[in-house]
């Protein structure tokens, strides 16, 4: 039952639809028409079913082809945990928030290892940029994550955070919640590799970064993993700051509205900013963004 909803199939379909929203909004912002809604499905089906999968000479096959699968598996697991917790908050286990944090680090790690194992200089460059990016955004990400934990009475269970918000109101309604939400949004922008933090796959500089040697099925699975993460990211934000996705008839429309607003906000940030250099990104995340996260934590401890 978990395979179909809310497992792999559901996450993949939703992720590809969200990917279409991304492409369509981007096209509309650039005054274009944009692709039809099934475009991402066709792209992935083409890569998985009909294209040749090439493995570069002298490359560890297990490493090169295993990493996309690892990436997709952990992305699916994140999406599944977060969807199950949202539909029935009592189901989760102790510390599932921490599990989600760890699972969110695995896709960039898999991308890095895949890039390094492909023995392409541009892929190595992309992977090393990705590594620096992970190092820079993880610090403010975890600090911002502490705020919902403090606000919900030191609960590290996603279900408890949702239930607590149902009692005392959403975390976003408090000053510390707003600040930590902004920090979290910027960190997810970097986690998903959206502009301004897409230097790991900067198409105009290093072609496709760590993806450069991937083709066919392996590339298709990577695309699927990225789509699933793009779907899961706003759901995580809604769970932590907006009191979770409500599945009853009156709450669902507002949850959907929140989801679309967060998604479109990310896409608009993506389309209105230039790519920053990797040192600028590190300075940005370790400087102002971490400072904001510290302020948010202090405010949360003071009960604001």
């Amino acid at each position: 039952m978990f395979l179909v909803f809310p497992g792999f199939l559901f996450s993949a379909v939703m992720g590809l639809l969200v990917g279409w929203v991304d492409r369509k909004v981007t096209a509309r912002l650039q005054w274009r028409v944009g692709p039809p809604w099934y475009q991402n499905f066709i792209d992935v089906v083409k890569l998985i079913l009909y294209k040749e999968t090439l493995v570069p000479e002298g490359v560890s096959k297990a490493m090169f082809l295993g990493m996309p699968v690892l990436c997709a598996a952990s992305a699916t697991l994140v999406s599944t945990i977060i969807c199950v917790v949202n539909s029935t908050p009592a189901v989760g286990f102790m510390g599932d928030l921490i599990v989600v944090v760890y699972l969110l680090i695995i896709p960039p790690l898999a991308l890095m290892l895949g890039g390094f194992s492909s023995e392409n200089p541009l892929a190595s460059l992309g992977a090393s940029r990705e590594m620096k990016l992970v190092l820079s955004y993880e610090l403010p990400f975890i600090m911002a994550l502490i705020v919902p934990v403090i606000k919900s009475g030191y609960a590290i269970k996603l279900g408890d955070i949702i239930l607590r918000q149902a009692e005392t109101g959403s975390i976003i309604a408090s000053p510390s919640g707003v600040i930590s939400f902004i920090v979290m949004l910027l960190c997810f922008q970097a986690k998903l590799g959206f502009v301004p933090f897409d230097m790991a796959e900067a198409e105009t500089e290093i072609m496709a970064g760590a993806y450069i040697e991937y083709s066919g099925k392996a590339l298709g699975i990577f695309k699927l993993a990225k789509a699933i993460l793009t779907f899961a990211a706003p759901v995580i934000l809604i769970t932590l700051y907006f009191g979770g996705i409500k599945l009853n008839s009156e709450g669902f429309m507002s949850s959907l509205l929140e989801y679309i607003m967060i998604l479109v906000l990310m896409i608009v940030i993506k389309n209105t900013n230039p790519r920053v250099r990797i040192d600028q990104a590190m300075g940005f995340f370790w400087g102002p963004v971490s400072g904001l996260a510290v302020i948010a934590i202090l405010l949360a401890i003071l009960g604001k």
């Binding site: 492409r23 096209a27 650039q30 005054w31 274009r32 028409v33 944009g34 692709p35 039809p36 475009q39 066709i42 792209d43 089906v45 083409k46 079913l49 009909y50 294209k51 040749e52 999968t53 090439l54 796959e201 198409e203 072609m207 496709a208 993806y211 450069i212 040697e213 991937y214 083709s215 066919g216 590339l219």
Partner: protein
């Protein structure tokens, strides 16, 4: 037209090979992706890496230095892949026909599926060419 052809024709990732062109054709490739013509409507976008590509857009006259590289790129493209010779130079070497530097035309180096003439080809000609490429892909049905 079966399912395979439908999928292959609706999602064309193009890789741009410039083999000694004067840049006019290269600018026309970008023109096709801009708001007025917007080839992404049909699922045609530029790929960053040749391993992601379905179609090679070969501009330029394929000079001697570029020939081995074009061959290598063609071999690196995952199959099924197609080649479009772009502009007068790509199709027939254009005004460099008698040059010491361009001894063979592009279609004697790699198999070319489609020629888009013009110096440079207008975006309308490119879209017409893409329609013919889609017909050609439809004929590859096994």
């Amino acid at each position: 037209m079966g399912f395979r052809e439908k999928i292959l024709t609706k999602s064309i990732y193009a890789f741009h090979v410039s083999s000694g062109s004067c840049n006019n054709c290269d600018i026309e490739i970008l023109d096709c992706l801009t708001p007025r013509f917007d080839l992404e409507r049909f699922g045609i976008i530029l790929a960053g890496s040749v391993k992601h590509a379905d179609v090679l857009f070969c501009t330029g006259s394929a000079n001697r230095l570029c020939v081995p590289r074009i061959k290598k790129l063609y071999e690196m493209m995952p199959k099924p892949g197609f080649v479009v010779a772009w502009g007068a130079c790509g199709s027939s070497r254009g005004l460099f026909k008698d040059s010491y530097n361009t001894t063979v035309p592009l279609d004697e180096v790699i198999p070319v599926d489609l020629y888009i003439p013009g110096c440079p080809p207008k975006p309308e000609a490119v879209i017409g060419g893409m329609v013919k490429l889609i017909e050609k892909i439809n004929q590859t049905r096994k």
